[in-house]
Amino acid sequence: MGSRSWLTAVLAAALAAGALTGCSSGETRVTVVAGTTLVDGRLLERVTADYEGRRPDVRLSVVGAPSARALALAEAGSADVTITHDPALEERFIAEGRGELATEVFSSRFILAGPRPESGALKGMSAVEAFRWIAEQGHPFVSRADGSGTYQVEREIWDRVGVDPTGREWYVETRQGMGLTLQVASQREAFVLVELSVFLTAEKTTGLLDAALDPAGLENPYRAIAVKGSPVREESLAFVEWLGSRSGREAVRRANLELYGAQIFEP
């Protein structure tokens, strides 16, 4: 009997806790679907916490998804705000009249990371030259291959090289987020196109080296879009406006400093 009443008490406590966190009164929930990098890297967590501190009536639920998926979710009405990094897709989304307000919020960059001696040899090359070298050598290359903004940039570079790596023996597709893709690249001593913040966070464990390519064409701009038709239109618009404002940019700078000690996602 004693153990049963104890169990009941635990259950009741769990239910009560669930009820408290689940439906605190008067909060408006805004669903923000953002690139996986921003979510996994915790940058957005800090920025949204900052905003929630200013607007206690708003709760921002952040979900990570590759850019293409984020915009598709928005199209299906499952996102109020998107923060993505696939300029071509974003422009189409806006041209179709699905965005209410769009603003560029910050920009990081991609780097090519790889095993030590080989990475050193690529220093100063353009992305196209480096990718051509990888294809010619048949050196292992790990790709997310998942409809992310990162993958989009990668495909554009391969197009300019004139090589389709799909199916090649040296080309590995993870179809997953940047973190795992970087792990696989590290363990296979392969090259990988990686967003700078993810690389810096895992630099010690991966043992990969930044090939220090010519940064032209490797910019990574993020854009926030308030989705048209959102049931929480006002709150969504206000959040996107704030991201682009001086106060929002300050929050991004602070988050950068706390996480990386430098402005990786430059507002």
Partner: protein, 230 residues
């Protein structure tokens, strides 16, 4: 409701045009689960018999380890093995990380205690009389164990089914040590996680249906094995 029908219709379509990409996943699921169940049972049955019959130092500790192991969180097992097999980790030189071999090792870690626990329980469940008979037979330790395992063969069948059930349904450990890489380490459970995360629910349900069919067939087959004897 309409949403669910759409997902189901989508799943049927995915299954009807299932190509090599899905079959590779199914084949790897079967191979990894079968291999790890086999190894787990081969290790677990003698261990279970020893725990039930043996009188040796450290039996209490071993029994505790098996109990803990039966409920060990798979994703934690995966994490520990990831650290061990990481290239700069203690066994990194073997180059096993993100390979099916690493997945099998993780699954064996999960399956062995289950097999041992079930077999040990069913031998002890034979009751006093068979135990006395075993002692009266004046057999050596090994022979005694073998007779006991034979007597408890329904328990062995259950051990096989339970081990297979645990590994085939498991996602945390294989995801962490395998990486869910296309054509290399992707199994049905990790595929389901990935498809549902990408909101391709039809494809996720299709993979789930495959998983269910496999689990069902194996359970029926193993049930027969237990009834017909070994």
């Amino acid at each position: 409701m309409e949403f669910l029908w759409e997902v189901l219709a989508d799943a049927v379509e995915v299954l009807s045009r299932a190509g090599p990409e899905l079959w590779v996943v199914v084949a790897l699921t079967l191979a990894v689960s079968a291999a790890s169940t086999m190894i787990g049972v081969l290790l677990g049955v003698p261990l279970g018999a020893a725990l039930a019959l043996g009188r040796f130092r450290g039996r209490g500790v071993l029994r505790l380890a098996v109990s803990v192991g039966m409920g060990f969180p798979p994703v934690l097992a995966g994490l520990l093995l990831l650290l061990v097999f990481w290239r700069s980790g203690p066994l990194g030189g073997l180059g096993l990380i993100f390979t099916p071999a690493a997945m099998v090792i993780a699954q064996v870690v999960l399956a062995t205690p289950v097999a041992a626990g079930v077999v040990s329980g069913s031998i002890r469940g034979l009751g006093m009389v068979p135990m006395e008979q075993l002692t009266a037979l004046r057999l050596g330790r090994m022979a005694r164990g073998m007779v006991a395992v034979r007597e408890a063969r329904a328990g062995v069948a259950t051990a096989v089914a339970a081990s297979f059930g645990r590994v085939v349904a498991e996602v945390g450990a294989v995801l962490v040590v395998g990486g869910n890489i296309v054509g290399e380490t992707r199994v049905l459970t990790t595929l389901i996680v990935e498809e549902s995360r990408q909101a391709r629910f039809g494809a996720a349900v299709a993979a789930g249906a495959m998983l269910l069919v496999i689990a069902l067939f194996v359970n029926i087959a193993v049930g027969r094995l237990g009834e017909d004897g070994l």
